[in-house]
């Protein structure tokens, strides 16, 4: 569809924007590749060697209505290969990847017409590769490397990711164990009838569940159908007033929270709820030990925790009575950051840029959260009062959204390993 609109603007381009970047982008012609290498060979020659590094230019352009990715050389000798990517005029293309057997070996993102050329260098063994331009016509362009096959077996990345996922199970087990201790502490404080102590114990017990809830919120106790909340452990542990099932009633953390912070009282019912909570998180800890994780589970789990932040913490729904939403918020973020950290060694090999972006955005969120720390408050954070929500929710939400958007791309990358 765009083709009929774009014909005939080439002459105008000569008038050019006054100060264009790095000499690229203002030329409409697809025959004058703007890549920085100086090779002039035809399309079936090998990439020119510069100090032992082969140079390949990838040019993105809109030609005859189609966005295309064109290589100036479709092969190179084994060894380091530098790909220089220039988007001349392909408005539908923003990304290029070097693939072998579906695995990403190198890539560049955020490409757009007019931006300076970017490059990435990878050391390649002999074999068949593909340049993948999502949205291009065609999307896949073959690329061949001649010479000895790679000495490094492919699969390192996958192993690194799986190692991370395996180790992550230890983290979950630790959190669950802490959660059981936290619930026991809450139960003991409730039994003692000491309201401030119970409130404090409540705040200290919350964070463990929040760190891992996306991993452990799917358990149904034996003998219950999945639709029956009597057997839904997440329901029994963490349900809020807004989503109660009348047949089951209110159980778990937030029922205790209502008593301790809303009613400001410990009754026999409170003690019973606290004891039941200990029982249920103990069941959960047993079940959680049976979990095994694939790398994409960590990616999806991290994204899920941030969804929790957006849906329930920033809205202030989670801790309706205690207003310790920022404690839960921090727990969700810490949990997501742990998932990411376990994936990072492998992910960095797949997509260093995305890895860096996610890391930076975690730093942004953490720095923002730090401004709300208050050691004198329950759980170590300011209470998320309606006033604080009014002034801060926008900033909190948008900072988390920036992280969530970049994290949402993690699962796809991990799956290519």
């Amino acid at each position: 569809m765009p083709s009929r609109l774009r014909s005939g603007v080439g002459l105008l381009a000569a008038a050019a924007v006054a100060a264009s970047l790095a000499g690229c982008g203002s030329d409409d012609s697809s025959t004058d590749a703007a890549g920085s290498d100086s090779t002039s060979g035809g399309s079936s020659t090998e990439g020119a060697s510069d100090s032992g590094v082969s140079q390949v230019a990838i040019t993105m352009a809109n030609q005859g209505g189609a966005d295309t990715c064109t290589l100036d050389h479709d092969s190179a000798q084994a060894g380091p290969v530098t790909f220089t990517v220039t988007n001349q005029s392909a408005t539908g293309l923003t990304e290029v990847e070097l693939l072998q057997d579906q695995k990403i070996l190198g890539e560049k993102e955020s490409l757009a017409p007019g931006l300076p050329s970017v490059e990435f260098t990878v050391t390649l063994g002999g074999g068949d590769y593909q340049i993948y331009c999502p949205g291009g016509d065609p999307e896949l362009v073959p690329f061949t490397v001649t010479g000895a096959a790679a000495t490094e077996p492919v699969g390192d990345t996958q192993q690194a990711l799986q190692d991370g996922a395996t180790d992550y199970a230890t983290y979950v087990d630790d959190q669950v164990a802490s959660m059981v201790r936290g619930a026991q502490g809450l139960q003991a404080a409730a039994e003692s009838g000491d309201l401030p102590a119970a409130q404090n114990a409540y705040a200290n017990a919350r964070i463990y569940y929040e760190r891992i809830e996306s991993d452990v919120d799917g358990f149904v106790l034996d003998g219950f159908p999945p639709t029956d909340n009597h057997g839904n452990l997440d329901y029994l542990i963490d349900m809020r007033a807004s989503n109660l099932d009348p047949d089951v009633g209110w159980h778990g953390f937030h029922a205790v929270e209502r008593d301790l912070f809303g009613r400001q009282a410990i009754t026999g019912s409170t003690k019973q709820l606290a004891a039941e909570l200990t029982d249920n998180v103990t069941k959960l800890s047993t079940l959680a030990k049976t979990l095994t994780y694939k790398p994409e589970d960590l990616a999806n789990g991290a994204a899920g925790l941030l969804e929790e932040v957006q849906a329930n913490k920033i809205s202030g729904e989670e801790e309706e009575f205690s207003h310790i939403d920022l404690v839960d918020f921090a727990g969700n973020v810490e949990g997501a950051q742990q998932s990411f950290a376990y994936l990072k060694p492998g992910l960095g090999q797949i997509d260093g840029t995305l890895t860096d972006t996610i890391e930076q955005r975690f730093d942004d969120v953490t720095a923002m959260l730090d401004t709300y720390r208050d050691p004198n408050e329950l759980g170590g954070y300011q209470r998320y009062t309606p006033e604080l929500k009014k002034s801060e929710a926008n900033q909190l939400s948008q900072t988390v959204q920036a992280l969530q958007d970049s994290l949402s791309r993690l699962a796809e990358k991990v799956a290519t390993a």
Binding site: V9, T91, G135
Partner: protein
């Protein structure tokens, strides 16, 4: 209220009398002797501006960004953003990516795959405009004063006349509806197409820009070249005297001697979210409403004329010696005759935000205007804010000012010369 005698000022009683006397020569005539206005009546005919959802505009063609002198579409989403970036390069990449995405959207194409093949992938394009057609979408991007503060090191590249608007008479601005470092005006004949563009640009911008305020406009409230004059929510034709000729656009809209990256087709954009107290307005009698606008409600003719495009005669008096056009009327204040010839190009839309806290309809005018000197707006609004009779029924609650760079050429991007 000092409305002119409604019997005398009704146009229906005036038509035909004293035909042939030109408006310019009619000064001092009583209202009852008013005439056909003559040459100024070249109204575009046909109230039904056709809509073709397959129609499209090319992002890269022409010197000016589209969405300014482009025929006005039926719907518009106006959103501003705050920069969170700490480097100019982040803004640069964003403007380049936005440019490419805008070009895609304006051509009716998605900004990327709606359903990527790869396992676990999230969509690149959010998908809600798939197959809806281009719907004459235009997306116009502006840069606010904040782009040129100390954060990004771009202070030396600031457009000459770009500065926050001063406090103006009658301002009731709300911070959450004002300001912004970037503006995006996406207009289309299908509101979903316009919204999709803004949504996907916002998504692309996360981590670099935060959303600040947004207005969803409908029912264009200004007429561009060749368009019939639409009505604002007060029921009056709006934009009768708007700039329509390209010579006037050259004189009043496009900058000539600004910073290099603005020259060759740039302009300034002033946005004002104007609340209308429409229930109160609706309870005002029509004669008074006509006094306030100095126009007849049905056909838009000035109170001193017979046709919409007749030139108002601000010096005309009625039989009792009272001015036919109230000097405090909106038209009198806004007229270039009373503002040293200053004109701005308006491209506004009606909006509604639902129902306000006291149960009244929350609605108004999203005023967007383009000009080569923001001081022109400042002068006009200073005058209007002081004593416009319309102020009883409106309030300026949101405000923003932006420098709008020229259109990029194919292969380049918006404001490329800035970096």
């Amino acid at each position: 209220m000092a409305a002119p005698d409604s019997g005398l000022s009704r146009r229906r009683l005036l038509g035909g009398a004293g035909a042939g006397v030109a408006v310019g020569a009619a000064a001092g005539f009583g209202v009852g002797r008013w005439t056909d206005g003559g040459t100024a009546s070249a109204a575009p005919t046909g109230g039904l501006d056709a809509v073709d959802l397959n129609s499209s505009t090319d992002f890269y063609t022409g010197a000016h960004q589209s969405g300014i002198d482009t025929p006005q579409q039926r719907y518009c989403v106006f959103m501003t953003f705050d920069l969170t970036a700490s480097t100019a390069q982040e803004l640069q990449v964003l403007l380049a990516r936005w440019s490419a995405a805008i070009a895609q959207c304006m051509a009716g194409e998605p900004v990327g795959s709606v359903a990527p093949d790869r396992a676990g992938a999230v969509a690149v394009d959010t998908g809600e405009a798939l197959d809806l057609g281009p719907a004459s979408l235009t997306v116009t991007v502006g840069l606010g004063p904040g782009v040129f503060d100390e954060r990004l090191g771009l202070a030396s590249r600031k457009p000459k006349l770009l500065a926050d608007l001063p406090a103006l008479p009658s301002d009731q601005l709300r911070p959450e509806l004002s300001g912004g470092d970037l503006s995006v005006q996406a207009c289309a004949d299908d509101p979903q197409v316009a919204y999709h563009a803004v949504r996907d640009l916002a998504r692309m911008g996360r981590g670099v820009v935060n959303t600040r305020w947004v207005v969803l406009g409908f029912g264009r409230a200004s007429a561009g070249p060749g368009q019939s004059t639409p009505r604002n929510l007060m029921g009056f034709k709006d934009g009768t005297r708007n700039i329509k000729e390209s010579a006037d656009l050259d004189e009043f809209v496009w900058v000539e001697d600004d910073v290099d990256w603005m020259n060759g087709g740039g302009t300034y954009q002033v946005a004002r979210k104007i609340r209308m107290d429409i229930e109160i307005w609706d309870a005002d009698d029509v004669a008074d409403q006509q006094r306030i606008f100095a126009r007849f409600k049905e056909d838009g003719a000035p109170l001193t004329g017979n046709h919409e495009f007749d030139t108002p005669d601000f010096s005309a008096t009625d039989d009792t010696g009272q001015p036919v056009i109230d000097p405090t009327s909106h038209d009198a204040h806004a007229a270039h005759e009373h503002n040293n010839g200053i004109r701005i190009f308006r491209r506004g839309y009606n909006f509604t935000d639902g129902i306000n806290e006291v149960g009244q309809l929350d609605a108004g005018l999203m005023f967007v205007a383009y000009m080569n000197d923001p001081d022109h707006f400042i002068q006009l609004q200073t005058r209007l804010g002081r004593s416009d009779a319309l102020n009883e029924y409106i309030a300026h609650i949101g405000s923003g000012i932006f420098a709008v760079p020229p259109a990029p050429k194919k292969g380049s991007y918006l404001a490329q010369g800035l970096f």
